[in-house]
Symmetry: C3
Subunit: 139 residues, 3 copies
């Protein structure tokens, strides 16, 4: 039984989703764990994680458009606006998606479904370096 933790950085180019499935798979492979869990964590409050359909890019376009509509930048009444119109919406979109995800490992592989990918969801307009930490615990 081992528990192993490492981090990597994702360079985003502004709002959108960025797939990190392969990098999480790599962490699992390096750990040699056959049976256990992989915890993925994003160390930010204006970007989040989401497990989403990774086959048809139009699904992700609609995801982006939906959040622009549900949590619009020009929402009246925001107080926390010092860093610009995409500041507060970023925190809210993060709160509505995920900061951590835990995925079982079987036979040395993440037990993801056929259409599931793991994505960083960047909520700021500007490019950012986002830190992802992956822990693998198992046998």
């Amino acid at each position: 039984m081992i528990s192993q933790t490492g981090s990597f950085s994702v360079a985003t180019k502004g709002k959108g989703t960025y797939e990190i499935t392969d990098r999480v798979h790599d962490a699992v492979t390096r750990s040699r764990v056959q049976n256990g869990i992989a915890t993925v964590f994003i160390a930010h409050t204006s970007a989040s994680l989401v497990i989403f359909e990774n086959a048809d890019p139009s699904a992700r376009s609609d995801l982006h458009a939906f959040f622009e509509q549900m949590v619009p930048e020009d929402m009246p009444g925001f107080v926390h606006t010092l860093e610009g119109p995409d500041d507060m919406t970023s925190h809210l979109r993060m709160a509505l998606t995920r900061t951590s995800e835990v995925i079982p490992i079987q036979a040395g592989r993440l037990s993801l479904g056929t259409w599931q990918g793991i994505f960083v969801f960047e909520h700021r307009r500007a490019a950012h370096q986002r830190k992802i930490t992956v822990n693998v615990t198992g046998v």
Copy 2:
């Protein structure tokens, strides 16, 4: 210290919530783990997990109605519509709820609150077989 992973299938009959608390409890009991964590994972992008009040069914009716209203099927502007009007909304409702949940185990039991149940939240109109994977890690 052990880490044990297994899966089961849930037959849904279209949109709604389907309780799986007992099946997760069974996985914990079979593992004989007394102290640790249970990870529940759903391997799909159009169904999700939610821990919700399981005493009064009216709470779940309101949950279903709320999502129909917040993420309606006829939302204008969706591009990802090949599989019908419930396709894209399913992905969005999944992104707004959960793909994984982790529940501590104490004295061989899930440490759920009195009114908490674990549910599969089916977002498609049609019946589906949904795969749930449960990992139990602990002593």
Copy 3:
């Protein structure tokens, strides 16, 4: 490798966010785990968890205001209203945020980002005692 579970209680004073980062840190320190994961779980269906920006209180004010607007108390059509107008909205706000969070531990510390705090999100108007369970698994 150990897996250790404990609980503490948070006294809320009605709707709002209550930081528990230090108490989760304490559980990690007491466990002496250097490398692993901390699972935080809230045993309730009308309060939730959220990892949120903890530097500027105005961000949390906007979070509270946003949820009042997105899931208003006077939403027409709710059936589950026996416990008052904040009853059903509490369940929905909980479903839209988190019941569990898992945070990697490195060098004996939670690997949180600079601006990340762990909060109980109370959705009821009245004061409540909320039970938080923390499991620490690692080496």
